[in-house]
C-alpha cells in the first residue's frame, strides 16, 4: 500500500529500462518500495535496472519481456506483471517511448506506424488493462510519462509529438474516468532530459537530468497533481507556447533547429 506521501511499496514499471523510470525507481526504493516488476524488451538491460533497484532497497525484483511494437500483447503483458507482483500493485509507471528520427521517418509509412505504435498504441492498450486491474483493486496510482512536446506539435518533431499528444490526451480523459474509483492518474510532462533516448539532441532551455525529474515526481506523488511539469516552470512555458500564433511558433522552431 502507498503511504500518505504517495510512496508505494509495490511498483510495476512498463518500460523498465527507461532512464527516467530508473531514476524514479531509485528514489522510490530508497523510500518505501520493496517489490518491483520491470517490463521491457531487452533482458540484459532489465537485469541491470533490476540490480539498480535492489541496490537502492528493493527486496524482490522480477521482470516481464515484451515488445512495444506488438500492441496485441499489451494487455497480456500487464496481466503477467500484476500476477508476478503477488499482491496489491500500488503504482504503475508507464515509461514507454521512442523518439524516432523525424526527417528520416516522415516519408516512411512503416516507420511512422512503428513510432505511433510504440508511443501511443501500445501504452494506450496497456493502460486499458491497467485501468481495469487497478479499479478492481480499489486503490492504486498510475504515472504516465508524457512530454512537453505533447503540448504543441512542431515541424521538427511532429511524429513523436503527435503520438505523445495522443497518449497525453487519452490520459486526461482516463484521469477523469478514474474519479470515484480510488485510483489516481498523474501525467509527467518533462522538458528535454539528458538520457539515452535524447542523446545527440541539442540542449534546449530547461534541460534537466533524469534525477531532477525524479525529484519532482517524488514531490508530486504527495500532492496528486494531475500534471507534473519537470522542471515546474514549464507549466508557464507551455501556457505561452499554446498562445503563440502559428507562424511565429513555426519560425521559433526553425530558429531552434538551426
Amino acid at each position: 500500500m502507498e503511504n500518505a506521501f504517495g510512496e508505494p511499496q509495490n511498483v510495476v514499471v512498463l518500460g523498465g529500462t527507461s532512464d527516467i523510470a530508473r531514476a524514479i525507481l531509485q528514489r522510490l526504493c530508497a523510500a518505501r518500495t520493496r517489490s518491483v516488476v520491470l517490463c521491457g524488451r531487452d533482458a540484459t538491460r532489465l537485469l541491470d535496472a533490476g540490480a539498480d533497484a535492489t541496490a537502492h532497497g528493493a527486496t524482490s525484483v522480477t521482470s516481464v519481456l515484451f515488445n512495444a511494437e506488438e500492441p496485441h500483447n499489451a494487455a497480456a503483458t500487464v496481466r503477467e506483471a500484476f500476477e508476478k507482483m503477488h499482491g496489491h500493485v500500488d503504482l504503475v509507471i508507464v515509461a514507454i517511448g521512442a523518439l524516432g528520427e523525424q526527417r528520416r521517418d516522415e516519408d516512411d509509412g512503416d516507420a511512422v506506424e512503428r513510432l505511433i505504435t510504440v508511443n501511443f498504441t501500445w501504452p494506450g492498450a496497456a493502460l486499458a488493462e491497467v485501468r481495469r486491474l487497478l479499479v478492481a483493486q480499489g486503490s492504486g496510482r498510475v504515472l504516465v510519462i508524457s512530454s512537453i512536446a505533447a503540448v504543441r506539435t512542431r515541424r521538427s518533431g511532429y511524429l513523436y509529438a503527435s503520438a505523445k499528444a495522443g497518449l497525453d490526451n487519452m490520459c486526461l480523459g482516463l484521469a477523469d474516468s478514474l474519479r470515484g474509483t480510488g485510483v489516481t492518474l498523474q501525467i509527467l510532462r518533462p522538458g528535454v532530459v539528458r538520457t539515452r533516448m535524447s542523446r545527440g539532441l541539442p540542449e534546449r532551455p530547461f534541460t534537466t537530468d533524469a534525477g531532477d525529474v525524479a525529484e519532482y515526481v517524488m514531490r508530486a506523488l504527495a500532492t496528486d497533481d494531475l500534471i507534473i511539469w519537470s522542471p515546474p516552470i514549464l507549466r508557464y512555458v507551455a501556457f505561452a507556447i499554446r498562445q503563440l500564433p502559428r507562424a511565429f511558433w513555426r519560425r521559433l522552431d526553425d530558429a531552434l533547429e538551426r
Partner: protein, 442 residues
C-alpha cells in the same frame, strides 16, 4: 454500497463496499460471508486504519444504543459516539472516563485505538475503564473482559480492529457535579521549563496538556502553554449545571486552497495562540467542551488543510528517554517544516494490551500539512530517534510508518498476532493499514 474512503488526513483513498449492519446478528452474518473486512466508525483515524481497498468496510454506526446508567456503568453500542454518550449521560451527572481531543469518535473506535485523554497520567487509557465488551469474530461472538478471555480482551485493545468487530461495550463512567472545568494556565518560554513543571506537578491535576510551538526558533524555541484542570464541583460554581456541550456551530464548507496553511499563516496562528494565553491564571471556569474538545466547535476542520491533506505524527517515549522529545522538537524546528502546535502530555503506566500505544513517559503529537519535499524523510529520521528512545508511534495517527519498524516499536507484536490467529486464522480482518504495515496479509 461502493464508496471511496479516506482517513482524517485525507490521503490514500480506497474504494470499498460499505455496509451498515443494524444489529450484532447482522454483523455476525457479514463476518460469516468470509469476505476480507474491517470495521469503521467516524473515520477519525488519520491514516488508512479504517478502510480496505476492494474489501468490505462495516460501518458500526448502526450499532448505536445507550443503556441506562446503573451505578456508574453503562452498556453502549460500539457505534455510539462519545458525543452522543456525553449528551445522554452528562445531564445525569456522568462523564466519559477518557476522551480524546474530539467527541466525534465511536466507542468501537475508542477500543480499536485504545484512546487516551488529558488524564492518562492519572486514569490510564480507554481500556482501563472497559468492564467487558462483545466481539464478533470469524470463530464466533465472544464476551471479553479482563477476567474472561483476558488475552483476547487485551489483544483487541489498540489493535485497530484487526481481531474482529466490537458490537457493544460495558463502560465505567466518571461522576461529575457540573459541566465546568477549573483550569490553571501558564505559559513557559521553553520546552525544558514546561517539562520540568509537568514532571513535578502534573500529579496534582487530573487533566494536563501542554501546547508546544515547534516552529519558533531562537530564545523562544519550544515555548508552550500548559493547561491543567479538574472537574468543577458544586462548590466551585454558583449555579451547578449539567447541560451537555453543544454541537459544532461552524462548518468548513469546502476544501480550502492547499496553500492556505503555509509557514507564515501557521506561524501567525502559533504566535496568536501563545499570546492569547494568560501568562499565569488559576482556577478559571471553562465549559467542559471547550476544555476537552476545542476543535469540535468547527466540523470538518480537516478541510482547512485543502486538497493536499496532512499527516499527524504522534509518538511516545519512556520517562528515562524524555530527552527524545526535545530532540524531535529540535529537528522539526531546524528543518523549518510547517507544524501546528504540538500537543505534549505525560502518560501514566501502560496497560497489558500488546498494541496499546501509551507507555509511562511522554507523548507529543504534531499536525503537519503535506507539501514540504523533506517531510517524508524527516519523519523517517524521527522514527529512528523514537526507536532509539524505546518509544513508538501511535497507529491511529499513522499513515506513513515503514513496516520493518512496527515490531521494534511494539515488541509484544507476537502476542497480538497469536491472539488474532486464534479467532481469525485466515486474516479475514485486515485493513489498508494492516497491509501497509504487514500486520495481516490477505
Amino acid at each position: 454500497m461502493r464508496e471511496v474512503l479516506v482517513g482524517w488526513g485525507g490521503r490514500s483513498p480506497a474504494r470499498s463496499s460499505v455496509c451498515v449492519p443494524q444489529s450484532e446478528d447482522d454483523v455476525a452474518r457479514a463476518v460469516a460471508s468470509g469476505d476480507a473486512m474491517i470495521a469503521r466508525g467516524l473515520g477519525r483515524s488519520y491514516g488508512d486504519a479504517a478502510q480496505l481497498s476492494a474489501g468490505v468496510v462495516l460501518s458500526n454506526r448502526g450499532l448505536s444504543s445507550i443503556g441506562p446508567v446503573v451505578d456508574g456503568v453503562v452498556t453502549v453500542g460500539a457505534g455510539t459516539s462519545i458525543d452522543e454518550l456525553v449528551k445522554s449521560t452528562l445531564p445525569q451527572g456522568w462523564f466519559v472516563p477518557v476522551t480524546p481531543g474530539t467527541r466525534q469518535v465511536t466507542i468501537g473506535g475508542a477500543v480499536a485505538a485504545d484512546v487516551h485523554g488529558k488524564n492518562h497520567h492519572v486514569d490510564g487509557s480507554f481500556a482501563t475503564h472497559v468492564r467487558s465488551m462483545r466481539l464478533v469474530t470469524p470463530e464466533g461472538t465472544l464476551q471479553l473482559s479482563p477476567s474472561n478471555e483476558p488475552e483476547l480482551f487485551w489483544a483487541t485493545m489498540g489493535a485497530m480492529g484487526l481481531t474482529g468487530v466490537v458490537s457493544s461495550v460495558e463502560l465505567n463512567l466518571t461522576r461529575v457535579e457540573t459541566n465546568q472545568m477549573v483550569v490553571d494556565t501558564e505559559r513557559h518560554n521553553g520546552l525544558e521549563s514546561v517539562m520540568t513543571e509537568m514532571r513535578l506537578r502534573d500529579g496534582d491535576y487530573r487533566y494536563s496538556v501542554a501546547w508546544v510551538d515547534c516552529m519558533t526558533t531562537g530564545r523562544a524555541k519550544g515555548r508552550s502553554v500548559l493547561t491543567r484542570a479538574r472537574h468543577a464541583t458544586s462548590l466551585d460554581v454558583n449555579d451547578a449545571r449539567l447541560d451537555p456541550p453543544t454541537s459544532a456551530r461552524v462548518a468548513i464548507p469546502f476544501r480550502a486552497p492547499s496553500h492556505l496553511l503555509n509557514t507564515w499563516s501557521v506561524r501567525a496562528f502559533n504566535e496568536l495562540w501563545y499570546r492569547r494565553a494568560p501568562r499565569r491564571e488559576s482556577a478559571a471556569l471553562v465549559p467542559l467542551g471547550t476544555f476537552f474538545h476545542p476543535l469540535d466547535g468547527v466540523s470538518d476542520w480537516n478541510l482547512l488543510y485543502g486538497k493536499r491533506g496532512f499527516v499527524q505524527y504522534q509518538f511516545c517515549v519512556p520517562d528515562e528517554h524524555g530527552a527524545a522529545v526535545a530532540e524531535v522538537v529540535e529537528r522539526l524546528t531546524r528543518a523549518k517544516v510547517t507544524s501546528f502546535l504540538g500537543v505534549l502530555k505525560r502518560f501514566g503506566p501502560a496497560n497489558p494490551a500488546p498494541l496499546s500505544f501509551p507507555l509511562k513517559g511522554w507523548t507529543l503529537a504534531l499536525d503537519l500539512p503535506l507539501g514540504a519535499a523533506r517531510l517524508p524523510r524527516l519523519l523517517d529520521e524521527l522514527d529512528a530517534v523514537v526507536i532509539a528512545a524505546k518509544g513508538r508511534v501511535y497507529l491511529a495517527k499513522d499513515s506513513r510508518l515503514a513496516p520493518e519498524h512496527v515490531a521494534e516499536m511494539y515488541p509484544r507484536l507476537d502476542e497480538f498476532l497469536k491472539a488474532k490467529a486464534r479467532v481469525d486464522p485466515k486474516n479475514q480482518f485486515t485493513s489498508d493499514l494492516a497491509l501497509r504495515l504487514a500486520l495481516a496479509g490477505r
